[in-house]
């Protein structure tokens, strides 16, 4: 089944949810609304066969609206196909439902996303910091977080 057909099936089921479809360098990216992300992911897994969640991450488009994007890179082990789902998340309400009930692997990915990007995952079983110390303040991967940390004067001698 081609990527186009898959997108058509997804559109047929969730016509009001799909915001945008982009094909770039042979990769299909579907942007969807965040409200029904769990249903969409369950549909992708059960009906379209995307049984492996390769990666889940957050992206910070600071200055744009909505500010954040949560990205799901899916893989179908049977047909060896990839697809990417994205869901925009606003800064005021930086939260999205967890998909750890759909793919168990999402658990740690979502913890990392919360830790580094500050996006809350509703109904997550164990949402706490994973890479940074438990008492860390701030979310380092946000674009407004300085590379060398807030408590250091950045070195001016080079690019970074």
């Amino acid at each position: 089944m081609s990527d186009q057909k898959i997108v058509e099936k997804l559109k047929a089921k969730f016509s009001s949810e799909v915001l945008d479809v982009v094909v770039y360098r042979g990769e299909t990216t579907v942007t969807v609304k965040k409200e029904q992300i769990v249903d969409i992911c369950t549909f992708m897994r059960d009906k379209l066969g995307y049984n492996l969640l390769c990666d889940l991450c957050g992206v910070d488009y600071m200055g744009k609206e909505p500010r954040f994007m949560v990205v799901y890179n899916l893989y179908n082990i049977t047909t060896k196909q990839r697809i990417r789902i994205k869901a925009p998340v606003t800064e005021e309400d930086a939260s999205i439902d967890t998909v750890s009930t759909v793919w168990g692997t999402a658990n740690w990915h979502e913890r990392e996303c919360w830790d580094l990007m500050g996006i809350t995952f509703n109904n997550h079983p164990d949402l706490r910091r994973i890479l940074m110390p438990a008492d860390w303040e701030g979310h380092p991967l946000r674009k407004d977080y300085p590379l060398q940390g807030p408590d250091r004067e950045p070195y001016q001698g080079r690019l970074s």
Binding site: Y24, R25, E27, T29, N51, L52, L53, C54, D55, C57, V59, D60, V71, N73, I77, K80, R82, R84, W103, G104, T105, N107, W108, L116, R129, I130, L131, M132, P133, P140, L141, Y145, L147, L159, S160
Partner: protein
């Protein structure tokens, strides 16, 4: 009358522990010798590579990838440069010689990584000799690394669009001799371990995980293939010309530590096969793609030709600028699927680089594999997952 005391005991393992393969911390809840609950704590080596890459040009990011999975630096280099090449849309322009050398180095890296895995895994379970044998062969690979890149570990050898230098004279023969000798060495390790009753008792039936559970938790690579899932990115989504080689993907159904051991050993045999095939197909040719706006020109042209000088200056001071877009590229690293998700905003720095490290995801399966089993099995399971904290924490 015996009193039933049901209180459990919590013990801490790591981050300073010889068997945790780095700075992994495990909080284990024990009922006698049985593990009731295992909670991994990671992040003790979080160096901020993803954030750092947003402040480096695409070329400057290559050395950062060396230090992700430092047991297999060239696999990381390969994953990253393939991702950037895909972002630039120049995947088809990579010369044949470059692809062959990349495959040779990637497979040598697989051997290198698996040798350290076997050495440490055996050492943890109590077989000291294997450690010394494996590091003996690993030294040969570090010698080859040193000859091609100048460094024993952090190679930084691949470039976007090619390689930093061609193979030095005589190295092809050295690699061939090494690859030919490898199957005999693997027999040697098998002779020490496979039939060994202590080894069998410590590995057979230990750390079982079914195929469904493994896919759900996202385990990839040899650990997944030992659970009966026949999936290898080199064969199924080929990159860098892997479709030209004749190799088998070892799959076993045992789902346990012993079968993961056997799968990795078989993979090492296949890796030597691929190296020999690639050496046979290796022909002289250019080692950089013909894309002057992206690839550094050779030094001779920079001195003699104003156009090359300008390109050189622009690439070094600014770096190249891919058009806005996003791609995901993954390779079959020794530990599983290593993915790079790159977003470009049209500037000379990655807007966002998300690394999908195989060890990070594989480690998530650890609680499932050890809970309900003996404390001593935790050591065997950490070994069999083949984790590297550098890429878990990034």
């Amino acid at each position: 009358m015996a009193v039933n005391n049901t209180e459990t005991m919590t013990i801490n393992m790591g981050p300073q522990h010889p068997s945790t393969h780095g700075v992994l911390q495990l909080i284990l809840e024990l009922d006698g010798e049985i593990v009731v609950k295992a909670t991994p704590h990671i992040g003790f080596l979080h160096r901020g590579i993803e954030k750092l890459s947003e402040h480096r040009t695409y070329h400057q990011t290559i050395p950062l990838t060396d230090r992700l999975d430092y047991l297999a630096p060239m696999s990381n280099n390969l994953g990253y440069v393939l991702a950037v090449e895909k972002l630039l849309g120049m995947t088809d322009e990579i010369p044949e010689r470059v692809q062959r050398i990349r495959v040779i180095m990637a497979e040598l890296t697989r051997l290198k990584s698996h040798l350290v895995w076997l050495a440490c895994h055996a050492l943890d379970i109590g077989a000291m000799t294997v450690f010394l044998y494996c590091f003996r062969e690993r030294e040969n690979i570090t010698d080859i690394y040193e000859k091609v890149s100048g460094a024993r570990m952090t190679s930084n050898y691949f470039r976007v669009g090619g390689l930093s230098a061609d193979l030095p004279d005589g190295l092809e023969q050295e690699i061939r001799t090494f690859a030919e000798s490898m199957p005999a060495h693997i027999e040697e390790y098998e002779g020490l371990l496979t039939g060994n009753r202590i080894w069998q008792k410590r590995t057979i039936g230990v750390g079982k995980i079914s195929a469904e559970a493994a896919i759900d938790i996202g385990i990839t690579g040899p650990a997944l293939r030992a659970s009966g899932v026949d999936w290898d990115l080199r064969r199924d989504n080929p990159y860098s010309g892997y479709e030209d080689y004749d190799f088998e993907v070892p799959v076993r159904e045992g789902c346990d530590t012993f079968d993961r051991y056997k799968v990795r050993l078989d993979e090492m045999r296949q890796a030597s096969r691929i190296i020999l095939q690639a050496l046979d197909k290796l022909k002289p040719g250019p080692i950089l793609a013909d894309c002057p706006k992206i690839v550094l020109p050779n030094k001779q042209d920079v001195v003699n030709n104003i156009e090359s000088l300008i390109h050189h200056f622009k690439i070094v001071t600014e770096g190249f600028k891919p058009e806005p877009g996003e791609i995901y590229q993954s390779v079959e690293a020794p530990k599983g699927e290593l993915g790079f998700y790159l977003i470009s905003d049209g500037s000379s720095h990655p807007f966002r680089m998300k690394i999908r490290p195989p060890s990070f995801v594989n480690l998530q399966g650890l609680p499932q594999m050890v809970e309900g089993r003996l404390l001593a099995d935790v050591i065997a399971v950490i070994g069999t997952l083949d984790i590297v904290l550098g890429e878990i924490d990034r």
